[in-house]
């Protein structure tokens, strides 16, 4: 199947993504276009398929049909490591630091094999979030929030053009959460694109220029946050027929 052409302004395009788990359709024909240099939000009720979508785009789930292009290259069916090296990185909803590796090793392993200055770069990143003192600590000995932050730093080692963040702030204390969002903004200023799953609507409103709403495996709305929050279908998906609780 030849993929439709992705507009050059979009760094990531997905068409008709469908993922079928033995009769249960987690994704049904998802179309998604992430603008270059944007911070795009992905919201939706629990179980709507957000994480599945990330699994498919990042290559960990290779059982989907449809088309995905990243930077105008079709990446569906690639190995996750290839996709990462190409410049598309992601974090996990629940922290997945390597527990028996030190913080520094956790970050270095994500860097390029051929980069001699990989250790200095990793230490530099730790410096930025005031974790340099923890370089020799094992991943499992960090607090949960620190683990999520390290996981975030880890994917920066490849200078990714697009970063998928799966609820990066969940379970993280407010101070670290601020550090994290500041970092996202800073990197976005330097040109990185983000696709973010987040439940806190204030963060979405504040951060995202465009928002996609996923419900039961389908994109039911997209546009800027103001448009989304008043969309009938979105309110219905979140609150059922008897809404009236205020979305934001």
């Amino acid at each position: 199947m030849s993929a439709p052409v992705c507009d050059p302004d979009h760094i990531l395009c997905a068409w008709g993504l469908t993922r079928d788990f033995g009769g249960v359709q987690a994704l049904r024909g998802v179309d998604l276009h992430v603008a270059r240099g944007s911070i795009t939000g992905l919201i939706g009720p629990n179980g709507s398929g957000k994480t599945t979508l990330f699994q498919v785009i990042s290559g960990l789930d290779r059982g989907a049909t449809g088309a995905v292009t990243f930077d105008r290259e079709s990446i569906l069916g690639w190995r996750p490591s290839q996709i990462y090296r190409r410049g598309l990185a992601r974090t996990f909803q629940l922290s997945r630091v390597f527990p028996e590796l030190t913080v520094l090793e956790n970050i270095v392993v994500a860097g390029s094999r051929h980069d001699r200055s990989v250790t200095e770069r990793a230490l530099g990143l730790l410096e930025r979030v005031n974790l340099r003192d923890y370089a020799a600590v094992l991943g499992k000995n960090l607090s949960y929030g620190q683990q999520k932050l390290v996981e975030f730093l880890r994917v920066l080692m490849s200078d990714p053009a697009l970063i998928l963040l799966d609820e990066p702030a969940a379970g993280v204390n407010p101070t670290l959460r601020q550090t994290l969002w500041d970092m996202v903004r800073h990197l976005n200023g330097l040109g990185a694109t983000f696709l973010v799953i987040e439940h806190n609507m204030e963060v979405i409103a504040d951060l995202c220029s465009e928002v996609y709403v996923l419900s039961e495996g389908e994109i039911i709305a997209h546009g800027d946050f103001a448009a989304i929050r008043n969309d009938e279908r979105v309110l219905e998906a979140y609150f059922g027929k008897s809404r009236r609780h205020g979305a934001a």
Binding site: S58, S81, R96, F98, L101, T102, V109, A110, A135, S158
Partner: protein, 315 residues
């Protein structure tokens, strides 16, 4: 002086001792050391795939068996002993390439069980392929084909040393870091750019190469091989217990484990092989339940509790 330096000096001292040992030992003692080296080399091979990469193999003796048979055949066909060792190692490694691609798709217990099956398949093939292996009768090598005890001793020593240096090098290398990341969380490793399949297969092939060579020398030592001695289940047990007891995923663990287990065997239960294995079973239980890090972890924990411990831990 940091841990690395201390380890290095102890290593140099041990190498010197082992090299000079044949001068002052009788044949029996020299044979004992040869067997210690055999266990060390096998343990390091197992350590590489199971300790560092986390893929626990219950059947790595399969490659030992392949090496032993290959070597026995090559010797009878008139190849010199050293070429037989090299070729046997090569055959085991070559065989490991497709097997690695197939079995390493399996996770956790599935891999362990598949490897157990592989060892049994090796035994069945050796039994049924009578035209080459002489089936259950086995192959006997005439003494004039075999090198002297000194040659066998130093070859086995070289294999133990080589396997240890390989593990030590991998431990400090980028490759080793990627293997450890795979052990910790394979998906996450793949997600940060580690080509997990390729890394696993390379580790697997290296870990098959060593038992292939060890098996080749072993058959020169015993001058006889049959399906049950080549694919002996006890050998799998020994590899696993020695590494876990010493400390899996470490450089010194297999050496300490092999030394301890072999000396215990020699002193306590050499006359009762069943008691020896039963004791290994008990040891395995004790280690799994009470000492997950092995003997090495006791030493290391003492180090860690020192105030300056953290500064010595840069990668």
């Amino acid at each position: 002086m940091n841990n690395y330096r201390i380890g290095l000096w102890i290593g140099v001292a041990l190498v010197a001792l082992a090299s000079l040992a044949p001068l002052g030992l009788n044949d029996y003692q020299q044979s004992f050391l040869l067997q210690v080296f055999l266990v060390i080399a096998l343990a390091q091979a197992w350590n590489l795939i199971s300790g560092m990469t986390g893929y626990v193999s219950f059947g790595h003796a399969a490659f030992f068996g392949v090496g032993a048979y290959a070597s026995a055949l090559l010797l009878t066909w008139g190849f010199p002993w050293w070429l037989a060792v090299l070729k046997s190692a090569g055959i085991a490694a070559l065989l490991a390439v497709p097997l690695g691609f197939l079995t390493l798709r399996l996770r956790g217990p599935y891999f362990a069980i598949a490897m157990l099956g592989l060892n049994e398949v090796g035994r069945i093939v050796a039994t049924l392929w009578v035209s080459v292996t002489h089936g259950g009768t086995g192959l006997t090598l005439s003494p004039e084909l075999l090198p002297s005890l000194d040659v066998k001793y130093f070859t086995m020593f070289g294999l133990a040393l080589g396997a240890t240096l390989l593990v030590a090098w991998i431990h400090r290398s980028r490759f080793g870091l990627e293997l450890r990341a795979i052990r910790e969380d394979e998906e996450a490793a793949e997600m940060v750019g580690v080509n997990t399949t390729l890394n696993k297969v390379i580790a697997f092939v290296l870990s098959a190469l060593i038992p292939g060579a060890v098996g080749a020398v072993y058959v020169m030592y015993t001058s006889y091989i049959n399906p049950s001695s080549a694919f002996e289940h006890a050998r799998n047990i020994e590899m696993i217990v020695v590494v876990l007891f010493g400390g899996s995923g470490t450089v010194w663990g297999p050496i300490i484990g092999a030394g301890t287990v072999m000396v215990l065997r020699e002193m306590l239960w050499a006359q009762f092989p069943a008691a020896h294995l039963a004791a290994l079973g008990v040891l395995l239980l004790v280690v799994v339940l009470y000492l997950p890090g092995g003997l090495v972890s006791i030493l290391r924990d003492r180090q860690r509790s020192r105030p300056d411990a953290r500064s010595g831990e840069s990668p």
